[in-house]
């Protein structure tokens, strides 16, 4: 008996008509060959720059972000070495300022956000049963803009000209009077690079999730990771314009003499903090929410049961997305704002613990009610729960204004946000990488090495960051390059540095496991874990067209709920990059749309855009002049090739 499908062809008012490429039972091999040819990934040097395939760009994003993570990790180790003993002279104050600024900037802007987007770029189209991500050329453009922005920061770091005013670059310190030279400008323009890239990916993800879901994937059947990426994309769309505004004003104050942040001419330095943190707090959730989605995916698979409280989980993600925008002032408790405002933001900051708490309880209930398998991805999830709960608790303490004032800008805050960010985002991410590695590469990561690296990371993390709570309570301020022996902070700092050593060894072991497993890991097969989401229903790694026939979804856990003769979508053209566009709410097929071929123009547009961004650090004329090559590249990008025009 055929299960009912979720849409009614008659309602769409479209009559079926046969096309020449309709599939037949014996035509599968020919169809595969045709799809292989149509969706090919171009080769050669020119091809490398022209790729528009979401798996390739997703992998590049992932590898690049992990590369930046490694660089920022090395900077962290350097800081820990400098702080290991009192009165240390290993690194001077100027270099140290650059190191902590670049460490924070890379971690937030070049690692955490892009790496989550990388997972989204790779996985969202697969999880919704699509052939590619929406707006694939924009995706390519985004990657190169991100790459060039990151390279700019690395180059200025090597040239001893890196930003040195902290990852949030407050004026007046970052303004023209107190930081002459170009260091703060590189920071401000790096923000522009990363935001342009992140916003592009956010639009792609929203469009993919809303319009390219497999038939049958109604809103209540969307995998939680996809929900998480959707909420993240919306947060990016609403939060990042604020930081672009903040950093552009800063750049203009420094370059063309505007007075946005200059109190002497009617400007206001605190304005910067409002704009920055209106972005900066949601940013924390932009990093954390995708991680929640990864945790849900891993917990579902390794407990072998549907997640407990799917609806509550989705509503919690959405609530986190909204509440994240109402907390920014809790980063500004020490700025002398009115008491009433502070009280409101204390309450709001405590409220956000509720949706996080709901999710934690749902995961615990799922593990409790299911039959958990403690594989490496699951270990990282358990590590996440332990560390994140601790970070969440110190977050609640920091929401209290009197306590906050006491520990403001101390190592207590450093400890808190590393528990939240490393525990809340990096542990799930590393778990997620172990989980999806077989899908991406076709091979499993070595389990023994994975377990060893987990324990090194978990123990190393806690030895590094737990003592920082105490150091903060003892009064050690953040961002000092050294401290006197009489302060008594020496022993705990040494302990922290030893922990950082373990953490670094764990991190390197993870990277080594990645590198060796790509080449020599055990062959994984399509679905090594028995996962429930659509990506496990295609081969590992997936073919260039993702699915021979786009799937039709019959339940909330797509693969587990699939009937023996599950329906599939047919009738998409195989001689051009045609995809199926479905409706937002019930994913009913609506129309077909042809995706663009690979093209060099998005890369050229990224080069032109980057040239303008870098040029405008030095002269405002770079903007009017730089627009011309950008316009040419974008026109080339959209101008149809003769074949398309004639189609």
């Amino acid at each position: 008996m055929m299960p009912p499908l979720t849409f009614d062809p008659r309602r769409s008012g479209i009559h079926s008509r046969a096309r020449g490429n309709g599939p037949a039972a014996d035509g599968t091999a020919a169809e595969r060959a045709a799809l292989e040819k149509t969706w090919h990934v171009p080769e050669g040097i020119l091809g490398w720059f022209s790729v528009v395939d979401h798996r390739t760009i997703g992998r590049r994003y992932l590898v690049t972000a992990l590369g930046f993570f490694l660089v920022a990790g090395i900077l962290a180790v350097l800081m820990r070495l400098q702080l290991a003993v009192p009165d240390n002279q290993l690194i001077g104050p100027d270099r140290y300022n650059q190191i902590f600024t670049v460490h924070g900037t890379i971690m937030m802007f070049l690692f955490a956000v892009p790496v989550m987007e990388a997972m989204g770029i790779y996985l969202v189209p697969l999880m919704v049963g699509a052939r590619n991500i929406a707006f694939p050329r924009l995706n390519t453009f985004s990657y190169f803009v991100y790459l060039f922005g990151g390279l700019m920061l690395l180059i200025v770091l090597l040239l001893n000209s890196a930003p040195d005013v902290g990852w949030f670059s407050y004026p007046p310190l970052a303004g023209p009077d107190y930081t002459p030279g170009k260091r703060a400008d590189f920071w401000a323009q790096l923000i522009t690079f990363t935001e342009v890239a992140a916003l592009a990916v956010a639009v792609e993800i929203v469009a993919t999730v809303f319009k390219m879901r497999a038939p049958g994937m109604t809103l209540d059947r969307i995998p939680l990771f996809v929900w998480a990426m959707l909420v993240t994309a919306f947060m990016i769309i609403f939060a990042m314009p604020a930081v672009v505004t903040a950093s552009s004003f800063l750049l203009m104050d420094r370059l063309v003499g505007t007075h946005f942040y200059n109190p002497a001419e009617g400007g206001d330095a605190l304005l910067y903090q409002h704009l920055f943190w209106f972005f900066g707090h949601p940013e924390v959730y932009i990093i954390f929410v995708p991680a929640l989605g990864m945790v849900s995916s891993i917990v579902t698979t390794f407990t072998g049961r549907p997640i407990v409280g799917y609806t509550a989980m989705v509503l919690s993600l959405v609530a986190t997305g909204f509440l994240g925008f109402g907390l920014w002032v809790h980063h500004m408790f020490a700025t002398g704002l009115p008491q009433l405002g502070l009280t409101y933001f204390t309450a709001a900051s405590m409220t956000i613990a509720i949706p996080s708490g709901i999710q934690i309880f749902c995961w615990i209930a799922s593990i409790w009610r299911g039959t958990p398998r403690f594989t490496p991805p699951m270990l990282f999830v358990l590590g996440f729960i332990a560390i994140f709960v601790l970070g969440g608790l110190t977050g609640v303490t920091l929401a209290s204004v009197p306590f906050n004032l006491q520990v403001h800008d101390t190592y207590y805050v450093v400890a808190h946000f590393h528990y939240v960010l490393l525990g809340g985002a990096v542990f799930p991410l590393v778990g997620g990488i172990h989980y999806w590695f077989p899908k991406i590469t076709g091979r499993l990561m070595d389990e023994g090495l994975a377990r060893l690296s987990f324990w090194l990371l978990f123990i190393g993390f806690n030895i590094t960051f737990f003592p920082m709570h105490q150091l903060g309570l003892m009064g050690m301020p953040r961002r000092v390059y050294t401290y006197p022996a009489a302060s008594g902070w020496g022993p705990l700092n040494l302990l922290s540095t030893l922990g950082a050593g373990l953490l670094a060894i764990g991190g390197l072991l993870f990277v080594w496991n990645l590198a060796r497993s790509v080449r020599s890991g055990a062959v994984a097969g399509d679905d090594p874990w028995g996962g429930d989401t659509l990506e496990w229903g295609t081969s590992s790694p997936p073919p260039v067209y993702n699915f021979l026939h786009p799937p039709v979804v019959e339940g909330p856990n797509a693969l587990w709920d699939r009937s023996a003769d599950a329906p599939v979508v047919t009738g998409l053209r195989t001689d051009c990059r045609e995809v199926l566009i479905t409706d937002v709410v019930d994913a009913t097929p609506n129309n077909r749309y042809e995706f663009p071929e690979p093209s060099i123009w998005p890369f050229l547009a990224a080069v032109a855009t980057s040239a303008m961004f870098v040029g405008s650090i030095f002269t405002a004329w770079a903007v009017p002049i730089g627009i011309v090559p950008i316009a040419i590249a974008v026109t080339g990008w959209f101008w149809p090739k003769r074949k398309e025009a004639a189609a």
Binding site: S16, G266, W639
Partner: protein, 206 residues
Amino acid sequence: MRQQAVAGHRSIDVSGLPDQGAFGPSGLIWWGTVGYMVIEGSMFVMTLITYFYLRLKVDAWPPSLSNPDLFWGTVNLALLLVSVIPNHIAKVAAEAGDPWRVRWSMLLCVVFGVVLLIIRWFEFGSLNARWDDNAYGSMVWCLMVLHTMHLLTDVGDTTVLTALAMSQPLDKRRYVDVSENGLYWYFIVAWWVPVYLTVYFAPRWL
């Protein structure tokens, strides 16, 4: 759509669905356009909030400068509002698949766009403030430059689309592009109203 057996699976045959996309929220392009409208709308909101935030920090507004002259800005407002007509014709013609009406109305949109940009040049001269005079001047220039960049972008888009429409046969795909470009023009016109009121009347009224 019909259901048939494919290699042991039932199948949903979508070959009867319209190809080359769809207009409005049914299609993919609309979502990309609206996505960027939301992003850029957020930029306008942030900039307007900043304007009023800085207004609250001082007693006199504009501080030690005279008000912007109304003439060119108001001419631009009137022209932008009138430009909605050819834009609407182009959008409707695209959705109806009428190539010649699309071509001439798009051409008219380009002419409007160029005239608007020329007038915008004079507008900058009538603001009675420089960006580096004080925070008020910075804010006014920021709002004007932000809107002008959007104006310039859309005039560029429209010019390229018009060139395409003139040089090649129009298909559904192109009609969708024209229609969504029309939507973006509404966005530019709509944002000029609060920006105009802020730049020209906030100094007079507040």
